[in-house]
């Protein structure tokens, strides 16, 4: 059986390298630790040794290739019987030994892939060694802006026979748990992932042996038949993401006349679940009907990302990090998909020119009110927290300063003012920051908000909030008062243009009516997008929100 030889970690922070030289070719018998290739990284040129004795059955790279850690380089048949390579293998060998000749030969053969393949494009394909050939299954696109995820479960094990579209792993992205289907039928030769791994789109998941057959079919069929794929079909370089039969991923122009999208009820529901706009999905069934598979394929093919249109701001690539271990012991820990999403979002937020304005609110009366009514709200299943009250206060402010309830469309030079008040609330969860949205906050009573927020927060902590519940916010509240602090500068939650931060209230001696009185003072800060909000308005808004806290109990009389 063939062993896959992939590019190992070459050193701290080295993710890829360039192939300088391929030192062996298909058919060569090699010994353990014999150099197979020379690879240049940005630090050094290293020789890449064979991990075992055996015979090279396949060379997947050529000089000049840029390869990433984990990429397939060679296939090695360990302990293989030593036999003379066939004529066609010799040809492949020549091609591999002389990359430039190989390229020239390629051109002559009208684009057929010859490099490293143990097969001539001109002659009939040679018989393939028993055991068949293998194909690397990689992680396809999972959805809009999703670059990878954590492996929750590997659903197959080495030696399992799998069929096309069978789920092979569950991957948790920051949006949902997605089952990854196998693009091919065959037998799992080797698992390259395990539960807990963080993998990126395009990462190798497993190596699948495509069962040997007659070896007569010269072309790889696009749609795998239910049975094994003819062996010769898979001797070419493994495809990154084998396409579905009718390539339904390409967006088509949305129906301009608002006519019904041709899709059945179950398909429409799935689309809503995944947030797919069906007008952008090409249907594969008769009459252009969109099937459930079409929707899944659309998501996998990254259609959502295309649909989103790359509106996010430019995020500069991270600088290479030094080798920290030279100064002491370190531990590298993978971070969750959620953390990566947060990191990306924060980087986008940082790119907006923003200002933070500070103020204070006297919440002496408000806190008395809150304490008085908290038990009643608790009975109803809510928590009357300062955050809940802040939602009310913010809505009051936003009504007077609608520019804070907007988004900036820089491309069109427009400000999009929203006619609704959906308040995002930052929730501290064991997994990290999650920001669910309280919809139509202006239409809900304090009690209703307290109940809803309590439930949303709990669901966020349980990681049960739906994608829908995370979308559509118009302004964000971040309350760190429960932890402490005298003030902080919250980061915007783009594309929103404002965020309120609450810090811990403290008793202070305040000069009132000719004497000092102990008053409970809460520091608050508002960060706003200076592109659309001027400093004076930012200050006015902050004061307005502070006043809403101060006069909260009194205002209730008028409600």
């Amino acid at each position: 059986m063939a062993t896959r030889i992939t590019l190992p970690q070459l050193g701290e922070g080295i993710e890829a390298g360039d192939i300088v030289n391929v030192l062996v070719s298909a058919g060569d018998v090699v010994r353990k630790d014999q150099a197979l290739a020379e690879i240049e990284t940005d630090k050094a040129v290293v020789e890449f040794p064979s991990p075992d004795d055996g015979r090279i059955t396949k060379v997947s790279v050529k000089a000049g290739d840029h390869v990433k850690v984990g990429a397939l380089l060679f296939e090695l048949e360990s302990g293989a019987e030593k036999r003379e390579p066939t004529e066609s293998v010799r040809e492949g060998e020549r091609a591999a030994k002389n990359p430039s000749a190989s390229v020239a030969a390629d051109r002559e053969r009208a684009g057929s892939v010859a490099v490293g393949a143990g097969r001539s494009a001109q002659g009939p394909p040679p018989p393939v060694a028993a055991g068949g050939t293998s194909e690397v299954v990689r992680l396809p696109q999972l959805g809009e802006g999703i670059e990878g995820g954590d492996v929750l479960n590997v659903l197959v094990k080495a030696g399992d026979a799998i069929s096309k579209d069978q789920s092979i792993a569950e991957v948790e992205t920051d949006k949902a748990v997605v089952e990854v289907p196998s693009p091919v039928s065959g037998r799992v030769a080797e698992l390259l992932i395990k539960a807990g791994d963080h993998i990126k789109v395009g990462a190798d998941l497993m190596c699948v042996d495509i069962a040997a057959a007659s070896g007569t079919a010269p072309e790889a069929p696009m749609a795998a038949p239910p049975g094994p794929i003819p062996a010769a079909a898979a001797t070419e370089k493994p495809a990154a993401v084998p396409g579905p039969p009718r390539a339904p991923g390409g967006p088509q122009p949305p129906a301009a006349d608002g006519r019904q999208v041709p899709a059945g009820p179950a398909t429409r529901r799935l689309a809503r679940e995944l947030g797919v706009d069906l007008t952008r999905v090409r249907g594969s069934a008769t009459g252009g009907r969109i099937t459930i598979d079409d929707v899944k394929a659309f998501v996998r093919s990254g259609g959502m990302a295309a649909a989103a249109g790359g509106g996010a701001g430019h995020v500069p690539a991270a600088q290479p990090l030094p080798d920290f271990s030279q100064w002491g012991p370190i531990e590298r820990k993978p971070v969750s998909s959620l953390r990566r999403k947060i990191a990306d979002q924060m980087a986008v937020a940082w790119s907006a020119p923003m200002v933070t304005h500070f103020d204070e609110a006297d919440i002496t009366e408000l806190e008395a009110f809150r304490k008085q009514f908290a038990p009643r709200v608790k009975e109803a299943g809510g928590a009357l927290t300062m955050t809940t009250i802040a939602i009310k206060a913010v809505v009051e402010g936003l009504k007077e300063f609608p520019q804070l309830n907007s988004s900036f469309d820089a491309a069109r030079g427009e400000m999009i003012v929203k006619g609704y008040y959906h308040i995002s609330v930052a929730v501290d969860t064991p997994a990290g920051l999650i920001v669910p949205v309280v919809r139509d906050a202006d239409k809900k009573s304090l009690r209703e908000l307290a109940i809803e927020l309590n439930r949303l927060a709990q669901r966020a902590r349980d990681r049960k909030v739906s994608v829908e519940e995370l979308q559509g916010g118009t302004f964000t509240i971040s309350n760190l008062g429960g932890i402490g602090g005298t003030g902080f500068t919250p980061l915007l939650n783009p594309p929103q243009v404002g965020i309120l931060g609450l810090a811990r209230g403290s008793l202070r001696a305040v000069w009132r009516d000719g004497r000092f009185e102990p008053r409970l003072i809460m520091p608050l800060s508002v960060t706003y997008d200076h592109r659309v909000i001027d400093g004076a308005d930012g200050a006015r808004f902050t004061r307005r929100v502070a006043r809403a806290f101060e006069e909260f109990a009194g205002a209730l009389l008028d409600v």
Binding site: G287, R439, K444, E468
Partner: protein, 474 residues
């Protein structure tokens, strides 16, 4: 109100135990919610079960039996004239209704749905007062309003004479009038007219517009109208009721039509001119719910009202006022309320008129297509070419399928003929699933059945129906 008030708590309270309300309550209970179902009528099941769909279909079944025994004569089978025992008919109809209503009550119990008897009135967006029955209150997280509709009776017909009835009265079958006037040529009037005509009444229908069943395409109505013209005394179109007068011998009805004005005397008058949503007296003004000018509660595709805690389904939430629409909305409301991505996104709501022959349609009608200026192709398969129709002696039927000319997608289906109400299910599925002509034509349909007419309609589009020769286009 008593000091020790009877206050219940529910996560979801459903007001009205009709086909929408109980579907919603049951689903919510199945999903683990604490549910209360409030109903002010003594029987569960709403209008549909007690005063609508079910009793009318029971009576229509009898009408069909009577008509069939008469028509069998031509096939060589003669029956004596039927003996009609009105009291037993009423009893039988009552048993059917009671059994179904009892079934709903049993399902409530087995699902742990708390049944609250009495009239519900909103006191706020979180509390209902219950008047009568289980007097008290219900506090809730979410409410689903499913209070249905009632027959509309214009004031002019309100002459305080029990012989002037609405559909509820007609279904009570107090007597079989010698002469019955049906005001309104909609489906309720035609169905009840069919029942009374079979039982021996001389039925006259008056309709203000120039056709009966104006929601349906004319080619579907024609076979029905032709047959009804034989069964009914008269169908008076473009005719208005101008006066009603109580007389000892009957009701004098003044009619004004194309032939001028005349006064006719009837033993009974059935007023079936439409239905009104039950949104009054519910205390909706104490909530954020918005009611439109026609009295319907405004909802979005998730059945949400303007009040974030209150949802509305069924007849109160808008046309068409059909039980099956209400049931679907009930399920959508509960799922959406629980945060699932449900929406009332249905393309086709089947409409069925249970006359003889039945008329059924779903999706786009030809009328609608022409009103929208939308180009469609229509394939009509007349039942004269159906073996099954011939064996039934009922070849007046017609099956038609309305297609999009480009994609051949099935946009609508219309059927008139015996059993059309059952046949339309396939059409509805075809429309909802975005089937194309080839899907209908390529599906094997059992022979000999009327369902083959759908398959052959699809084949007709390509000019290749087995049992009907049509020259191919162009």
């Amino acid at each position: 109100m008593a000091a020790s008030e009877n206050v219940r708590r529910a996560e979801i309270v459903v007001i009205g135990a009709g086909p929408g309300g109980y579907a919603a309550a049951f689903l919510a209970a199945d999903k683990g919610k604490k549910v209360a179902l409030v109903e002010d009528s003594s029987a569960l099941g709403g209008v549909c079960l007690n005063r609508g769909c079910i009793p009318s279909k029971a009576l229509l079944h009898l009408a069909k039996l009577i008509n069939e025994t008469r028509e069998a004569r031509e096939m060589g089978l003669s029956f004596a004239d039927p003996k009609i025992d009105v009291a037993t008919i009423r009893k039988w109809k009552g048993q059917v209704v009671d059994q179904l209503a009892g079934g709903v009550a049993g399902l409530c119990k087995s699902r742990g749905v708390q049944l609250v008897r009495g009239k519900a009135v909103f006191e706020s967006s979180a509390r209902l007062r219950i008047d009568g029955g289980d007097q008290g209150a219900v506090e809730f997280d979410h409410a689903i309003v499913a209070t249905g509709s009632r027959p509309a009776v214009p004031p002019a017909f309100n002459i305080q004479d029990p012989r002037v009835m609405n559909s509820t009265g007609a279904l009570q079958l107090d007597e079989i009038p010698g002469r019955l006037l049906v005001v309104g040529g909609g489906y309720i009037g035609l169905e009840m007219g069919t029942v009374y005509a079979a039982l021996g009444s001389k039925v006259t229908v008056v309709e203000l517009l120039d056709g009966i069943l104006m929601g349906a395409d004319r080619d579907l109505v024609r076979p029905l109208q032709k047959r009804l013209e034989g069964k009914f005394e008269a169908i008076l179109l473009k005719t208005k009721v101008v006066s009603l007068e109580t007389k000892k011998k009957g009701i004098d009805v003044g009619l004004e039509g194309p032939d001028g004005q005349k006064t006719l005397t009837f033993d009974r008058v059935l007023v079936s001119v439409g239905r009104k949503p039950n949104t009054e007296g519910l205390g909706l003004e104490k909530t954020g719910v918005k009611v439109n000018a026609k009295g319907f509660i405004e909802v979005d595709r998730k059945q949400r009202t303007a009040d974030p805690r209150i949802w509305a389904i069924g007849d109160v939430a808008g046309e068409p006022m059909l039980a099956h629409k209400a049931s679907r909305e009930g399920r959508v409301a509960v799922e959406a309320l629980l945060g699932e991505p449900a929406e009332f996104d249905n393309i086709a709501i089947p409409a069925v008129v249970f006359t003889d022959p039945e008329v059924a349609w779903c999706g786009l009608t030809e009328n609608e297509a022409s009103a929208q200026g939308r180009k469609v192709e229509v394939a009509r398969f007349p039942w004269g070419a159906s073996g099954r129709a011939l064996t039934l002696g009922r070849t007046e039927g017609l099956t038609k399928v309305i297609y999009d000319p480009g994609t051949e997608r099935v946009l609508g289906v219309g059927i008139v003929g015996v059993g059309a109400g059952e046949l339309i299910a396939e059409g509805t599925l075809a429309v909802e699933m975005a089937a194309v002509a080839g899907d209908l034509g390529g599906t094997i349909h059992a022979h000999p059945t009327l369902s083959e007419t759908l398959m052959e309609s699809a084949e007709l589009l390509h000019g290749t129906a087995t049992h009907l020769f049509r020259k191919k286009k162009g």
